[in-house]
């Protein structure tokens, strides 16, 4: 096959932008799964919920979806705190998180998805924003603003979270939970409370990720399933619990997917993402930058 440099460069650029967006989708799982060991399979369900809320606010009130998401993130934070409390009280406390906790989140994923289908139907929904449509041209490279804006927002989100986790007292407490819960308890801190805050934070990021998703592409309730594999692939690939690792993993996956769909067709893209995950799991389960 003839690979033109022009096409390749554009595929790489599109992959980088896509990767930035993937990082925003994954960062929540990096916190919940990577740091807290909570296998939140329902994460994409919350993202789609975020997309629909951004959609409602955008169509009813005409507010920019990303701003709406930032405003609504505290509501998602509260939802996350509630879900964690249920998870803790029903599973984690009894040490039953592996089987029943997984099933719980799996059920939750379906409940959100089907509820959205019943309310909104399976039509694709989209939002209006000034940056959807135009694109900027730098030399050979064509950067659609529809992708560039989410990518930048995602980078800002991850930068802020990384700063929070590494610099603030609470952030360090969250990292400490990942390392040694017992030691934390001996310091008179409650691991449950810290984990609740961290999990709620991870759900709060889904509000923003959802808004970014609906900016990038029209959204329909069951597309969340595609993201289950992607988010866990990126999370594992980058190494559990490392936000910079997540970012790099996301860029890698974005580039690989974009190049695959440019040269082989989009129907192969999912296999690449999941194949990546399988190989990572089989060869190096700790990921590229694992702890």
């Amino acid at each position: 096959m003839y690979v033109s440099a022009d096409l390749l460069i554009n595929a790489l650029a599109a992959g980088l932008l896509l990767g930035g967006f993937y990082a925003a989708v994954t960062v929540g799982v990096s916190i919940s799964f990577g740091i807290l060991d909570i296998v939140n399979i329902a994460h994409p369900g919350f993202i789609i919920l975020g997309s629909y809320i951004a959609y409602i606010v955008n169509t009813r009130l005409g507010i920019d979806p990303i701003i709406a998401a930032v405003v609504l993130a505290p509501a998602f934070y509260a939802l996350g705190a509630l879900v964690y409390q249920v998870y803790y009280a029903s599973f984690e406390r009894y040490g039953q998180e592996s089987l029943r906790g997984l099933a719980f989140f799996f059920g939750l994923l379906f409940v959100t998805e089907v509820t959205l289908i019943l309310v909104f139907g399976v039509d694709y929904r989209y939002v209006d924003a000034p940056y959807i449509g135009p694109s900027i041209q730098i030399g050979l490279i064509d950067l659609p603003l529809r992708m560039l804006v989410p990518c930048l927002v995602a980078l800002a989100l991850i930068g802020a979270l990384q700063l929070f986790l590494s610099r603030s007292f609470l952030g360090r407490a969250i990292m400490a939970v990942a390392q040694d819960q017992l030691a934390l308890q001996l310091m008179a801190a409650s691991p449950t409370r810290i984990k609740r805050i961290a999990f709620a934070l991870s759900i709060a990021t889904t509000a923003i990720a959802g808004a970014l998703l609906i900016v990038i592409q029209p959204v329909e309730p069951s597309i969340g399933r595609e993201y289950i594999g992607r988010v866990f692939a990126i999370c594992v690939l980058g190494g559990l619990g490392s936000l910079p690792g997540t970012l790099i993993g996301a860029f890698l996956l974005g580039i690989v997917e974009s190049v695959t769909s440019t040269f082989y067709g989009p129907s192969w893209a999912p296999a690449v993402a999941f194949g990546f995950l399988l190989i990572t799991l089989a060869v190096r389960p700790a990921g590229l930058f694992g702890r």
Partner: protein, 427 residues
Amino acid sequence: MRTFTFALICVAVAAATFVAARLVGNDYVFFAGYVVLQYIVLATAWNILGGYTGYVNFGSAAFFALGAYATVFLHKAFPVVTTYFVDEPYALPIPVLIVIGAVISGIVGLGMGYLTLRLRGAFFAIATLALAVVLQTFITNWSYVGGSRGAYVIRPNDIEPIGPYIQYLFLLMLALAVLALVVARSIERSRLGLGFAAIRDDELAAEASGVPTLKLKLIATTISGALMGMAGAPFPYYIGYLQPTSAFALDYAVNSIAMPMIGGTTSWIGPLIGAILLGSLQQVATVTISSSVNLLIVGLLIVDCVIIAPTGILGLLQGRRTARDVVADPAVFSLLFAVNVIPIYFLHQEAFAARPLEIIFWAVLIFLAFARGRLIGLRWLVGLPIAGAALSMVPDPPRLIMALVLAICLVAGLVRRPRDPVARSTP
């Protein structure tokens, strides 16, 4: 009871089921029964890996679809010979296809085991999910078996000496269900089953005590995968037109997890109970209402079940955990209460025939209100959802009042904290 006796009893029950289904004299019974039986096989197969060894497989649909697509492939490779006078029988009879499906899915199960069983818990679950998507992408892009458009597999109308073809398929699935149950039960009672249970309880300790964990896990994935492939092999003949999206449908993954969970995962009888209950419930729901409400019901039942009855119906019968523990946490009470109102709301928009399905969710609400009310000393709380349930059964219910009643119940359940300090304390 020896395995042979058990197998004989199973065969007798299966024969009785078939005779009973024939006595009804309506082919719909066979079409619906086939699906329920298929779920018995899938749930039992899932339970051999998930219930006995504790490894969650989200990729049931992949194994099922492999069996189905093996059939499609062979159907295309050895086409039907149709002459003017007679329809020649298929080059490969379905029992052979079932064996082939089992072999292929078993091999893939073994391969998946090799690839992933060094991973613990959640990683394994994610890997199985990934495997399902990779396989689906390959099938979607493989035009020989129909690609994304799908493939037709025309089922003959009749077969000697049984009669209608669907009855033949039903009979085959019945045999598979018996096989799956016998296999599951004999594993449970053998040294193999003990090894599986040791892995489930503490893999590290098992390994340290000399249990060959990797080998046992590989046996489990192979048997489980092979049984799922068997369940899938006759499926193209049942459905007539096979698409990747229908063969890899998430329904299979969800149901094969939900059914053992709801029935109880520690014994062969759990998946059987779960599959019969949930399978028939879904058949009723599909007839009376849409299939998405169907999925909502299953998803909710999983959530309810893992919280309220963590050991399934079997555990409930043995009375393992008391109800007061469940609702002691206000978050559990409020989330469960809220999510169980969702299906009631949607079922009310469906035809009146869908009303009886609401009973399950009203029962959960009544249970929650009863347990919470007793815990916080507001025993009248249970009256509110009972009143709601009574109101919901009238033809044109006053929805506003119902919503109000439920909201009062939720808020009243949250205002007070449990008096009993024992229930509040966390271990």
